[in-house]
Every structure is written in structure tokens, then in C-alpha cells.
């Protein structure tokens, strides 16, 4: 009896321990932040101060890992008409930024969202907007227009950081989303 109890207690103890450990270690990427394990970043943060200053002057500085290099190239080649704005830069600055974008583009990164975006594109697809990629659309298709487009506190999917509270860190985890004006967005 005593031996059996001892074995049972140990087996239960190990099972419990394993269960707890695996629950944390093997949790899928949608696991929210918390506990001892930091949530993994979805895309490499924009760690270049020059990029953040120049390309964050008017809008959220989108991480280079959110578009393929060919898209960045197209964007950088048309800064005089950047979605209706003039974002011209002098040659040296433009080259410096293009280098940074290209090196860290989605098709050169192994981060989760970069891979997702890159793989969702057909060969030769050169989207100018992150929001136009199939990956993005798939991830956001459940959202109604009154949460984004017709929401005066958001207005556009291009304003990532207004809902994705950790966007500037490179984290787009859905558990960190707070849509301004909506308490429960994911019913």
C-alpha cells in the first residue's frame, strides 16, 4: 500500500509538473503575454533611429518586415507622391533608408508575420500597402467597418498602433488588441 501510494503521488506530481511546464513552453503563439514567458515578437522591431524618425514623422513607422524588399523599393522610388503626400528625401538619406528596409524586409526575415506576409504574395506581387496583402486581409476580415473605417478613433487599417497596443515593439498579438471605443471586440 505504502509503495503504491508513493508511486501514485510521484506519478501525479510529475504529471502535474509536466502539465504545467508544457502548458507554458508548448503554448501556441496566440498565448497572451503574462507569466514568466514573454510573448514572442511577431516582426522584428524597427530598431533604426533614423528610420523611425524619418518614416514615423507622419504615420506609424511600419516595421520593414511587413513588406517584401521589392515593395519597399517601389515605395522609395515614388516619394514625391507617397499616397498623395510629398515625402521626398535627399539622395543619401533615401539610399540609407532603402538599405535598411531591404535588409530587413519580409522576404529576408524569419519572423512569423514576415513569413506569413511573404508567403501570401504571388511571385511578382508588389503591394504598396501592408493592408493590401492577402495575409493582412485574412487576419482582419472579421472586423466590421464600424470598428475601423467608420470608427472616428481609428479611421483606417493603416493606423496599426491605434488598436495593436504593442505594435511599436513589433508585437501584433490579438490578445493585446484594444479597439478604441469597443470594450469587447472579439465577442
Amino acid at each position: 500500500m505504502k509503495t503504491a501510494t508513493w508511486i501514485l503521488v510521484n506519478v501525479l506530481g510529475i504529471a502535474l509538473g509536466l502539465g504545467l511546464a508544457s502548458g507554458v513552453v508548448l503554448s501556441d503563439d496566440d498565448e497572451g503575454e503574462g507569466g514568466w514567458r514573454q510573448s514572442r515578437l511577431d516582426v522584428a522591431p524597427a530598431d533604426n533611429a533614423f528610420y523611425t524618425e524619418e518614416c514615423g514623422a507622419c504615420h506609424f513607422p511600419y516595421q520593414p518586415g511587413l513588406l517584401p524588399a521589392r515593395s519597399w523599393q517601389r515605395l522609395m522610388g515614388g516619394l514625391d507622391d507617397h499616397f498623395g503626400e510629398n515625402a521626398e528625401l535627399d539622395g543619401a538619406d533615401a539610399r540609407q533608408l532603402m538599405d535598411y528596409l531591404s535588409t530587413n524586409a519580409a522576404d529576408r526575415s524569419s519572423f512569423k508575420r514576415s513569413r506569413g506576409i511573404s508567403r501570401s504574395l504571388q511571385q511578382g506581387d508588389t503591394p504598396l500597402r501592408i493592408t493590401a496583402t492577402r495575409y493582412f486581409k485574412r487576419k482582419h476580415h472579421e472586423l466590421s467597418s464600424h470598428m475601423v473605417k467608420d470608427n472616428p478613433k481609428v479611421r483606417s487599417f493603416s493606423n496599426c498602433n491605434l488598436c495593436h497596443t504593442q505594435a511599436s515593439r513589433g508585437s501584433y498579438n490579438e490578445h493585446q488588441v484594444k479597439i478604441p471605443g469597443f470594450r469587447y471586440w472579439d465577442d
Partner: protein, 133 residues
């Protein structure tokens, strides 16, 4: 505070203002070299308010569209809604402190607002105006 400390404090306070003045002077000197001048804040103010109908969307645009008539207030990007720090150097000590930034923003914003680059005269007047706010 004794005399020496007072002088030191005054010098420290004046420094950023004199740096700004040096940058603006340098820019205006380059405009004069191309035949522009003299420059006036009053002329700059009128340019600031001047509206031009955009060929792109048929709507009027002026500097106030994003920067407001009150340069001490926070502006707002007309498209993205992003807050734009005040342009007044009295309120925002970073303004008018970099020749490179002055050149960059004149190039972009004159083109966006008026559909063309600003002339040397216009730039000089606008700098005088911004400096006075």
C-alpha cells in the same frame, strides 16, 4: 544666485536662441545670394494663410491646414491625423535649428500645399514669420 551664476544662466538660456538665429541667418543669406530680400514676418504671415486649390483633390490647402494659424499649438496631419509638434521656436526649441530639416520640409510642403517649390523670397519671409511666433 551670485553674479557669475546669473551670467552663466543667461548664457545657457541665450545659446539655443542664438543657434536658431544662426541657422535662419544662414538660410536667409543664401536666399539673398540668389537675389531675394529683404524679408518680413508680415509677408510671411500672409503666405502662411494663403490658400491654393489643389489640382489633386480640388480642395484648398494652406500651411494652416496641418500647422494651424497658431504656431504655438499642436498641429495635425491632414491625412494621418498624427499630432505635429508646435512650430513656434519659443515653444519648441528644436524648430529652425537644422538647416537640413528646413530645406527638407520646405521642399515637401511647398510642393504639397502650393503645387510648386517656394521661391527664395517666400522661404525667407516664411522663416522670418515662424521665427517671430
Amino acid at each position: 544666485m551670485n553674479g557669475r551664476t546669473a551670467i552663466l544662466a543667461a548664457a545657457v538660456l541665450i545659446m539655443p536662441l542664438s543657434c536658431l538665429a544662426a541657422v535662419v541667418d544662414e538660410q536667409q543669406a543664401s536666399y539673398r545670394a540668389s537675389g531675394a530680400g529683404p524679408f518680413s514676418a508680415q509677408a510671411g504671415k500672409q503666405l502662411w494663410q494663403q490658400k491654393v486649390v489643389s489640382a489633386r483633390d480640388g480642395r484648398p490647402r494652406s500651411c494652416t491646414t496641418c500647422h494651424s494659424s497658431d504656431l504655438r499649438s499642436t498641429g495635425k496631419h491632414a491625412r494621418t491625423g498624427k499630432a505635429i509638434e508646435p512650430l513656434s521656436p519659443a515653444v519648441n526649441s528644436e524648430r529652425l535649428s537644422s538647416a537640413k530639416k528646413i530645406r527638407k520640409w520646405f521642399k515637401r510642403n511647398c510642393k504639397w500645399t502650393w503645387g510648386r517649390e517656394c521661391t527664395a523670397q517666400e522661404k525667407g519671409d516664411l522663416l522670418s514669420f515662424i521665427q517671430s511666433q
